[in-house]
Symmetry: C2
Subunit: 149 residues, 2 copies
């Protein structure tokens, strides 16, 4: 299956998700880990579209999401940098682009190792908490802890 | 907002819906009316994408769907014939294409006025009942009535 950049943008406008997870991580100096990921979920009948997207982005893993749903998930930093460059060159048309721009900032900050300092992490979590699918109460709680230390 | 054909295909693979409604209609000789429609639903924050699609297809109406959701709905036969021609030239990549092909057959049959004869209507309802979002029990009931007469 051959995918064009515009098809990938249209499909991502419909089905893609830019997400930044924030988890406790005692091994990290700042105590928290930020995990940005790009994800597209499909019913198993369209798993071949996920594999075509994996080839298109030359990255990611196709795995079970939930019940009869599968996902392509891209988490590796160097791969996410490529995803970010792609969607900067080929703009999303929906309001998902607002989320994407925050996601892009976070991925670049992580690449610059900003997440390893408390100030950088605070900035990242603040930006992540403004995203559509953010767990806002959790982000607020972590920000409270980080700004107290 | 300028949309390319490939973007429209990708977005439709994600968000589009090809649907054929079947309703009782005492004024029609065969007693039933078939109503094919192409629909794309979005949250109200992306209503401008629906208007851009309306311009792209040069047809349809943007209307409230449910609560904070809006839809572009195309129902006019000559407009649906254009939609069908578009997606025949620019193939959907997901399994939605299977549904689309049935939808395309039905739209063409209606254009040939097949739905005005009982045999034609039976063929249309049989095809519609095999589609993804079909109300299969309703279709089976109507088919039973039509094949008894």
């Amino acid at each position: 299956m051959d995918l064009s950049p515009d098809w990938v943008v249209g499909f991502t406008d419909g089905e893609g998700c830019f997400y930044v997870g924030i988890n406790k991580h005692p091994e990290m100096k700042v105590g928290y880990q930020v995990l940005p990921e790009f994800r597209i979920v499909q019913h198993e009948k369209d798993i071949q579209v996920l594999y075509a997207l994996k080839i298109f982005f030359q990255s990611g893993v196709v795995r079970k999401n939930h019940e009869d749903r599968f996902e392509l998930r891209i988490r590796k930093l160097e791969c996410l940098l490529n995803v970010v460059t792609f969607f900067e060159r080929h703009s999303l048309k929906t309001k998902k682009n607002v989320d994407f721009k925050k996601f892009a900032r976070i991925v670049r900050w992580i690449n610059e190792q900003k997440h390893l300092t408390t100030d950088g992490l605070i900035e990242i979590i603040k930006t992540a908490s403004e995203m559509n699918r953010a767990d806002k109460p959790k982000a607020a709680m972590i920000l409270k802890i980080l700004t107290q230390t």
